[in-house]
Symmetry: C2
Subunit: 191 residues, 2 copies
């Protein structure tokens, strides 16, 4: 998606440790109109009409998944990362490593809301080593749902998460795959 790449080139910041910050439009201050354009691009790639529900992980995936779900007229479920007192009954759970916070976290979805047989499209803002997406796929599988696909806005291609999903045969698409990132130059993988 050229407009997304252009945005990353213009506004992205590369920090030590291969951290690429796009928090001015994607995951802290969020350009919601632009999320609508991203949603339209996903809808060209995936047959979103087939989806029963859009699944993402808290917190930074929620804004993008919500705008996508709103535009597509679908419900959205976000997996929680901590057990609150307000979740009762059965839970699907998947343990993942969060490299952003450098600790293990458990993704949780109430069994009440992710029903067996549902067709699920996973949407997330960012993919690095792919832990969140792996955990979300695991929840889909635990729930006996059908995985329609995984759509990611920005993939850090050099960290391997996306390629692992591609090799597993998942219907996986990222709208901008960063091949290498230096403070003065971000290189994208050709489409």
């Amino acid at each position: 998606m050229e407009a997304l790449k252009e945005r990353i080139r213009r506004e992205g910041k590369v920090l030590p440790g291969n951290i690429i910050k796009v928090d001015g439009f994607l995951n802290h201050r969020v350009d919601c109109a632009f999320l609508g354009e991203i949603a339209d691009e996903f809808a060209r790639i995936f047959d979103v009409s087939q989806a029963d529900v859009i699944l993402t992980a808290e917190a930074s995936g929620i804004a993008l998944a919500a705008v996508c779900a709103y535009r597509w007229g679908k419900p959205m479920i976000f997996a929680k990362k901590a057990k609150s007192d307000n979740i009762e009954g059965g839970l699907y759970q998947s343990e993942i490593m969060s490299y952003t916070y450098n600790k293990k976290v458990t993704l949780l979805v109430s069994k009440q809301w992710l029903r067996p047989g549902s067709r699920v499209l996973i949407i997330d803002d960012f993919m690095a080593r792919g832990e969140a997406a792996r955990g979300l796929c695991e929840l889909v599988s635990q729930a006996g749902c059908e995985l329609l696909g995984v759509g990611i806005a920005v993939e850090k291609g050099f960290q391997g998460g996306g390629d692992r999903l591609r090799e597993m045969g998942v219907n996986y698409h990222a709208l901008a795959v960063i091949e290498s990132a230096e403070p003065d130059h971000i290189e994208f993988r050709p489409e």
Copy 2:
């Protein structure tokens, strides 16, 4: 907002400890089309055209704030609840008590994105004792921004958070104020 009250009556669950669960449409599985209706209701109450930015707190406020911001053509900022390695530079910070998780958390917003003089509308899904809203108001004040108002979808009126904001003279509105909640009956405050 009658449609919201109706939804709470029909789908809400009251748990011991005055917990009211609306996670089937508001904050776990999210009915994004309905969030659009909530956004329209807020736009009847607040002059959203005056807002430069919509502010909320992660995680459960993000979906509603994103759909509102999308419909109103505004950017949205969500305050983070933990320091990640990816936030650099100055931060506005406000410590609040999270009763959902029974611990203190710090709301964080990068100074880069909440600019002095901006007109801010705070949107959140739920108000109990009002800690999140209080923290968000504090961030707005620290940043030298103008607070246009605070819009909440569901207020637990009997926990006092909303009344405190009303007494402070904040332009505060909740679309459904629950006055009392028993497993078999939810009573709303008259509008």
